[in-house]
Amino acid sequence: MDTFCTVYCYAVSRSSPDICSLTRIYYDAGCDDLSFSASNGVVLATEKKQKSILYDEQSVHKVEPITKHIGMVYSGMGPDYRVLVRRARKLAQQYFLVYQEPIPTGQLVQRVASVMQEYTQSGGVRPFGVSLLIAGWDEDQPYLFQSDPSGAYFAWKATAMGKNYVNGKTFLEKRYNNDLELEDAIHTAILTLKESFEGQMTEENIEVGICNEAGFKRLTPAEVKDYLAAIA
């Protein structure tokens, strides 16, 4: 993550004098999220702490569907994320128009990462202040990718991002094995989130998305509540 800071400062210093403070924002705003690839699906989980109880939590989502079979979540700046979500959705539709098949997860990641890279090498723009986790299911297999502001992307079996990603990853390393089923993965993901969660974890301040052969779905608060009850 530290190498990215240096890249920003050199590449964009002229157009954005505030780039150093920008990267600070990037880190501060990074809420914890993590994802887990199971043998029969992928789970994305994130905390969604709002600054005031007056916020309408259900009007804004972090876990977003891109197509029927791909979804994503982020860590970083919400407004930048929205731009990428829109872009990803368009890219997916464009692919279908040309190839008449749902876009393979890897192809979508490549295209989105390409966009992110563009913004590190173009004039007058700044890099996207988000890291994405993209989960998908195609050809009977689950996929999980991370895409960084530099445009670099990585495939994962399980990963954590955000403030407490070190602890998150350590926790996942201990708990991951290849034969985990989706249900167990959801359970483990929520437990991992709980490790670094300040305060009471409820269905209103976390979001969970799952992706399996039936497609991608963001769990409703009611469904999340059931899983939370299991770990109480």
């Binding site: 569907p65 891109i66 197509t67 829109r86 959705r89 368009k90 539709q93 464009q94 279908f96 128009l97």
Partner: protein
């Protein structure tokens, strides 16, 4: 006698009809000659079509599927140029898919119909496409929208289209009654399309039917030997 407008589809024909080295059908567009129809019933829609695609007098495809899904509960019936209608349907599928996932809601039939109309009207000089948009949504239930050549848009409880439709306007006017059940609609559609296929040279093959409601889409095919038989002699 030469066509004045460069966009006239017959321009090409006149050119090569003088040329013996090239068969006439190479200059004739692939057309879904067609009979298509769509009816609304309480709770959904029923759509039907024949299955013949022609290049001139040659039947390029005798088992064509002219009932094209645009979204989970929205279909379109295509008539006119096969290429034009396929291209438009693909573009609308893209636009509606993107729109729907942004909204996080199933799209409205009226929205799909308007997307068809937008393309058909903007490019009206270059296209030959007569499309029926039919489907079910939560707001208005089953709906049928007609987007004929030129790019008009109108909602109708019953609509027929394609070259074969001329032969069944009378049949539809006399046999359609409001508030029919789904099965009555299916029977009527099968009967009407069969009659049109009998009289229109550009329509034939099998009858493809589909019914769309909140519970989903049911598709069926009525093969040649199972078609209702009519005879005036």
């Amino acid at each position: 006698k030469m066509a004045a407008a460069t966009m006239s589809p017959y321009f090409g024909q006149q050119m090569s009809s003088k040329n013996d080295l090239v068969p006439a059908w190479t200059s004739q567009e692939v057309s879904t000659g067609t009979t298509i129809m769509a009816l609304e019933y309480d709770g959904g829609v029923v759509i039907g079509a024949d299955s013949r695609t022609t290049t001139g007098a040659y039947i390029a495809n005798r088992v064509t599927d002219k009932l094209t899904p645009i979204h989970d509960r929205i279909f379109c019936c295509r008539s006119g140029s096969a290429a034009d209608t396929q291209a438009i349907a693909d573009v609308v599928t893209y636009q509606l898919g993107f729109h729907s996932i942004e909204l996080d809601e199933p799209p409205l039939v009226e929205t799909a119909a308007n997307l068809f109309r937008a393309s058909c009207y903007r490019y009206r000089e270059e296209l030959t496409a007569g499309i029926l948009v039919a489907g079910w949504d939560r707001r208005k239930g089953g709906q049928v929208y007609c987007v004929p050549i030129g790019g008009m848009l109108v909602r109708q409880p019953v609509s027929v289209g394609g070259s074969g439709s001329s032969y069944i306007y009378g049949f539809m006017d006399s046999n359609y009654k409001p508030n029919m059940t789904k099965d009555q609609c299916l029977e009527l559609t099968a009967a009407a399309v069969s009659l049109a296929m009998e009289r229109d040279g550009s329509s034939g093959g099998v009858v493809r039917l589909a019914s769309i409601s909140k519970d989903g889409v049911e598709r069926r095919v009525i093969l040649g030997n199972q078609l209702p038989k009519y005879s005036t002699h």
